[in-house]
Every structure is written in structure tokens, then in C-alpha cells.
Amino acid sequence: MPRITVSVDGVTYEEEVEPRLLLVHLLRDRLGKTGTPVGCDTGNCGACTVTLDGRSAKSCSVLAVQADGSEVVTVEGLARDGRWHPMQEAFHAEHALQCGYCTPGMLMAAIDLLRDDPDPSEEAVRRGLEGNLCRCTGYTNIVRAVRRAAAEMSRAPHERMPGAAEDREAAAS
């Protein structure tokens, strides 16, 4: 079986994996990172979104072997020093979740979106999150939360993007 080395939420793991093992199952079943849910299992819903080497990816559409040597950040890696990530704070403040199943993926996709567009319009948020479905249809508050987080993060630029090199340097210093 292939042996892989993968960093997840800042911890390096060495695992022997079957080639067919999906990244989301590595995270959940082997590493206990159950914060990342399996949603549709067809690559449509985005609930399982994580960042892989700094960019959003649907972990049900990546083999664990493909993540060999990579850095994964899940929703469980967002909080730091007991404080939520500004995106998590904003989702809380804006009541941007109902059942909560899509929330981990929404958070990861939204944080990725702000990397490219630190001040997205409502339209840009909707477009940027098109790969993430909320079956409660709670999009209005989700969009509001992303824009609130964007405003918050622009006021506190030291707040970070998961997996970003500059962030690791900041954390180390």
C-alpha cells in the first residue's frame, strides 16, 4: 500500500493508504477529523471542502494518495489560541447557518474566496460560493456573513488565510 505524508491542521501524519481511499475518509475515519462532513458524495455540494496547499478543494473528489506531501486545513484548523477565525465569528453573528451541515465547507470556500477578492460584492460572494449548497437555503445570511468577515479581516490584516506561507511565518514569529 502507498505510504503518504500529509499535514493536516498543522500536524504531520504518515499513513499507509489504499489507493481508493478518498481524502475525506482519511480525514474522518483515520485521523478523526469529523468536522469535515460527507454531503452529496458526488462532488456537487461542497460540504467536504477543505484547503489543499492553500486552495479550496472538495475532499470527496481527491484521493488521499493525491494529497501526499501536501498541506490540508480543515474547519478544525481555523480557530487559533481559543479564538474563532473571523469567518466563523461572522457566521455566528449573522446566523449564517440553520442545520449547519454545509457550514464547514461554506467557511472554507468563503475564506478561499477572500484570498482572491478581499472585498467581494454580494454578487461576487454568490458566484464564489456556487460550489457550496445549503439545503436550508440560508444563503442570504451566508452572503451577509462573508461580507462582514471581509470587512473584519480588512481591519485586522494580520488575520490569516489557512495554509498561507506568510501566515505560517507570522505564527512562527
Binding site: 489507493p19 481508493r20 489543499l52 478543494a57 473528489s61 494518495v65 493525491q66 478561499d112 456556487e130
Partner: protein, 294 residues
């Protein structure tokens, strides 16, 4: 669902990959090439494919990147959609590729999915094959016997079937620069945000000095088992001078575009019947030509 078991091979070079593929195919094994996996992994999970092995090209940097090569832009097969749509070279010289790529799936999929993977998957519902047809791209492939080039018009053989022979790997795609005076648009109709195109229309159009259309190139997405050129509409558009809207109620562009579905054999599925797809092709072609004319 969990995919059925398969072996996994990560070749260290393109030569290696060609050899592995040729050996496996000679032995009668069903092997699949893995690029970004954004189409393949869903197929494996749904158990619609049972390859005995995956050959992962994802770690071959020589297959990745965009290069300006004078009369064409070369896009390495493993270049991700995200890299393609952000590439300054692509946006400047082959903007139709950037426009269509930006409509592929969603951001997370575009981070992983690749330009060459979408082509080699040869799904007629994919957005990029129709663009390759409209622009007369050239596919560069390699096997242990050497390199060869396949014109786009011969690359898409049938549903999910590219013209790749045993042991052949797609290295990259040459996208011709059309030069000045061209306008471009990709018009896509789909039911939900990141869904596959029910129908898509890729248009490149050039006007002469007098304002009349001199040349139109139209590629259709999901109007048959392969992407197709709307040759009849292309011919009908030649010489048409777009008149100011509403001058006398007639619309010569619409009349020409009403032949966009000629010669197609659109599929029937959950989303649309063939006659509805034909209607969409006509309407979307009119919209795309109008947008491309600016």
C-alpha cells in the same frame, strides 16, 4: 460511495507514463489516466468505471503551464482551470478559452480540474471541447513511438472517447491566436450554478471594414455525442450586417442563428429533450454572436 479497488501508479516522467500505459493496455488491463480527477473520481465513486489501475500524471511539472508561442498559445495538459483563467497570456491572446473556463464547475473544482483532463475526458457536456473545436486547436500527444498532433476536428471521436491511441498521453493543446478584429463569447445554459451545460455555445466572430460578418466560428456543447461545429449557421452568418435593433423588426442575425442546430443530434436526458436543446442552441447562438460582436 467508495470506489472499487484499483492499483495506483505515479510515473516519474512522461516517458514512464507512456510505457506504463502501453504495457497495461497490451496486457488487456483497463487503466485510466488521472489528472485532476474532478470528472474521474465521481465516476469511480458512483462505480460507473472499474479501472484496474490509475496512472497519476499529477506530479509531472513538464505537463503544466501556459506559454506564448508566437502564432499560438500552448497550454500544458495538467494546467488547472484556475491557472488557465488567470493567465495573462490566455486572457490576452485566446480570450474565448478564459471566458469558457471561468464557467467550468465551481472554484474548488477549478483548483483541481485540468485543461487537458477536460479535453481527454471528451464529455460533450464539458465546456472546453466546443471551444477547442471553434478555435481549431491542435492536440499534442506522445507515446513511446514519439509525438504526434491531432486536430480538434479529429480529437473527439465519440461520447467520452478521445482519439488517444494505446499508450498515448495528451501533453498539451495549441490554441491558435486569431489575430485582431475578432470578438468572442461563451454562452451557457444550465439549471443550477455549477451544473453541466444543458447547452453551451462558443463563438468567435470577425467583422469586415464595412461592418458585415466575414467569418464566424461556432462550437456547440452538449448537442450530440461529441462537441460539434454549427457549420450551417457559420455559413449563414457570413456577409450578414448586424442592423440596429428594432429598425424594421427583422433580425438577420437571428435568422442565421436559427440554423445553429442543423446537423446536430442532441441527447435526451433528465434536463432537456432534444427539441428543447435545439431551441436552446438557436437562441443561445444568437445571444453569443450578439455578445461577441460587442
Amino acid at each position: 460511495m467508495i470506489p472499487a479497488p484499483f492499483d495506483y501508479v505515479r510515473p516519474a516522467s512522461v516517458e514512464d507514463a507512456c510505457r506504463v500505459l502501453a504495457d497495461a493496455e497490451a496486457a488487456g488491463d483497463e487503466v485510466k489516466v488521472l489528472a485532476g480527477g474532478q470528472s474521474l473520481l465521481p465516476l469511480l465513486r458512483l462505480r460507473l468505471a472499474y479501472p484496474s489501475a490509475l496512472v497519476d500524471l499529477g506530479r509531472l511539472p513538464e505537463l503544466r503551464g501556459v506559454a506564448d508561442r508566437g502564432d499560438h498559445v500552448y497550454i500544458g495538459a495538467l494546467t488547472t482551470h484556475d491557472e488557465v483563467m488567470r493567465s495573462g497570456v490566455v486572457r490576452e491572446h485566446v480570450p474565448l478559452v478564459a471566458l469558457a473556463t471561468a464557467t467550468v464547475a465551481d472554484p474548488a473544482v477549478r483548483h483541481r480540474g485540468t485543461f487537458g483532463g477536460s479535453m481527454a475526458h471528451a464529455d460533450p457536456a464539458g465546456d472546453l471541447p466546443a471551444v477547442a473545436l471553434a478555435l481549431d486547436c491542435v492536440f499534442v500527444v506522445r507515446s513511446s513511438d514519439g509525438e504526434r498532433e491531432i486536430p480538434a476536428a479529429e480529437f473527439f471521436v465519440d461520447y467520452l472517447e478521445p482519439a488517444l491511441g494505446p499508450g498515448e498521453v495528451l501533453l498539451g493543446v495549441r490554441v491558435p491566436k486569431l489575430g485582431s478584429g475578432w470578438g468572442f463569447h461563451y454562452e451557457k445554459f444550465h439549471r443550477t450554478a455549477q451544473a453541466w451545460a444543458t447547452v453551451g455555445v462558443a463563438v468567435a466572430v470577425r467583422r469586415g471594414d464595412g461592418g458585415a460578418i466575414e467569418e464566424a466560428r461556432i462550437g456547440l456543447t452538449n448537442m450530440g455525442p461529441t462537441p460539434v461545429r454549427a457549420r450551417v449557421a457559420e455559413a449563414a452568418l457570413r456577409g450578414v450586417a448586424p442592423s440596429p435593433a428594432g429598425s424594421n423588426g427583422s433580425d438577420p442575425l437571428r435568422e442565421a442563428c436559427a440554423q445553429a442546430d442543423a446537423g446536430t443530434s442532441p441527447p435526451a436526458d433528465l434536463h432537456a429533450r432534444p427539441d428543447y436543446r435545439r431551441h436552446l442552441a438557436r437562441v443561445l447562438t444568437r445571444r453569443a454572436v450578439g455578445a461577441a460582436l460587442g
